[in-house]
């Protein structure tokens, strides 16, 4: 039993060391940094009233708003993986050469804020109006429409938002969750939310 004791002590020391280091490391994920948009572009940011939330957009799609045209600026792979229903794929590079002459309401979204705003500038110089943009991207669509979540101890503002979100969510086959604990400093990228949503659902 003497050697067992020695082995056990060594195992315990290894486990404790790795555990203390884990405590210091905090997160098992490598740090990701958020991309900053260039100051020039930020100064050209279009009127805030043209900014559209994903919930409003979802309501427009549900209500079949006449002349609604949704453009997805991301890459073909990203579009293939997931896109907002009824959206058309127009890569940013081809945007200036596409035919958008028919009247209607145009809504634009890209992979991130920067790409979306660039698209808005292109369409503005082409004189396309009315023009709206969704700068929250597909991640927010998945988060708010497909997985609308009401965090614990919600403010009245969050409650109202959740109610309108879960109404449209039902139309798009989303699943509402309530009383979810808050997590701070956690930035969900589109990929993360997508993988979470599609995580292989194998049984135990």
């Amino acid at each position: 039993m003497g050697t067992d004791r020695g082995v056990n002590t060594i195992l315990a020391i290894i486990a404790l060391t790795l555990a203390v280091l884990a405590w210091l490391a905090g997160s098992p994920y490598e740090k990701t940094t958020r991309q900053e948009i260039s100051p020039l572009l930020a100064s050209l940011i279009p009127a805030p009233e043209d900014r559209l939330g994903v919930i409003n957009l979802a309501e427009w799609i549900r209500d079949r708003k006449p002349g609604l045209r949704i453009l997805d600026l991301r890459t073909a792979e990203e579009f293939e993986q997931f896109h907002i229903p009824t959206a058309t794929h127009v890569p940013l590079l081809k945007l200036a050469f596409s035919d958008l002459s028919s009247p209607g309401v145009t809504v634009l979204y890209g992979a991130n804020e920067e790409q979306t705003l660039r698209g808005v500038l292109v369409l503005r110089t082409m004189g396309i109006t009315p023009l709206h943009y969704v700068d929250e991207g597909v991640g927010q669509w998945l988060k708010q429409i497909i997985n609308p979540t009401l965090y614990e101890n919600p403010s009245s503002e969050e409650r109202t938002q959740f109610q309108s979100a879960s109404e449209v969510a039902a139309y798009f086959g989303g699943l509402s969750r309530t009383n979810v604990p808050r997590r701070e400093g956690f930035l969900d990228s589109t990929d993360e939310v997508l993988q979470r949503t599609m995580r292989r659902g194998c049984s135990f």
Partner: protein
């Protein structure tokens, strides 16, 4: 990110089935070597005379948990591609209670009963037959209880997310808890003189 291999397409499904056999082989081997094919040894856990179940199970959890944490931190495995069992509060609470009752009654759990049966123990084989019957009963009454089965879902959520604590702190807390439990277990066993 080099793993999981199946998730990122390095392994085919057929290869993963062959691996399942090898992985199971290792699992069964260590269960048998740890003495967990013996129902009396397992039942001893509930009478505080033999703490083998606690020792094997908790050290396995600690090993895997630390391994996953550090492999992910070092960028070797993508944890978001690893299956995380979803949480359904009430069904899992009740299921755990029912399971625990059956555990102390039968003295083996589903995995260890396979090892017990394989090493020639007739009680292990009998327990396997009983388990198949229990699953059959559950399946037959499933349409009546499907509402409860799907109730109180929290989604795929970890303790760290649930209690809004840093992941690493939860890992540390579980390891600390385990090591303390091991000390208590050694003390109990030496007191019992086994």
């Amino acid at each position: 990110m080099n793993a999981p291999w199946l998730g990122i397409g390095i392994l085919s499904v057929d290869q993963s089935l062959a691996l399942a056999l090898v992985i199971g082989l290792g699992f069964g081997w260590f269960l048998e070597r740890g003495g967990l094919g013996n129902a009396r040894k397992l039942a001893g856990q509930f009478y505080l005379t033999d703490m083998t179940v606690l020792k094997v199970m908790f050290s396995a959890i600690i090993t895997t948990m630390l391994g996953l944490f550090w492999l992910s931190r070092l960028g070797f495995i993508d944890l978001t591609l690893v299956y995380l069992p979803p949480t359904f509060l009430l069904p899992q609470l009740l299921g755990g209670l029912v399971f625990g009752f059956g555990f102390v009654m039968g003295g083996l759990c589903p995995g260890t009963s396979c090892v017990a049966a394989a090493s020639g123990r007739i009680d292990g084989m009998m327990l396997l037959v009983g388990m198949l019957f229990g699953i059959f009963v559950f399946n037959e009454i499933y349409p009546l209880i499907s509402g409860f089965y799907g109730s109180t879902p929290l989604g795929q959520i970890t303790l760290a997310e649930q209690f809004n604590l840093p992941h690493g702190l939860v890992v540390f807390a579980i390891v600390a808890m385990g090591l303390m439990a091991f000390l208590v277990a050694e003390h109990l066993e030496s007191r019992h003189g086994s």
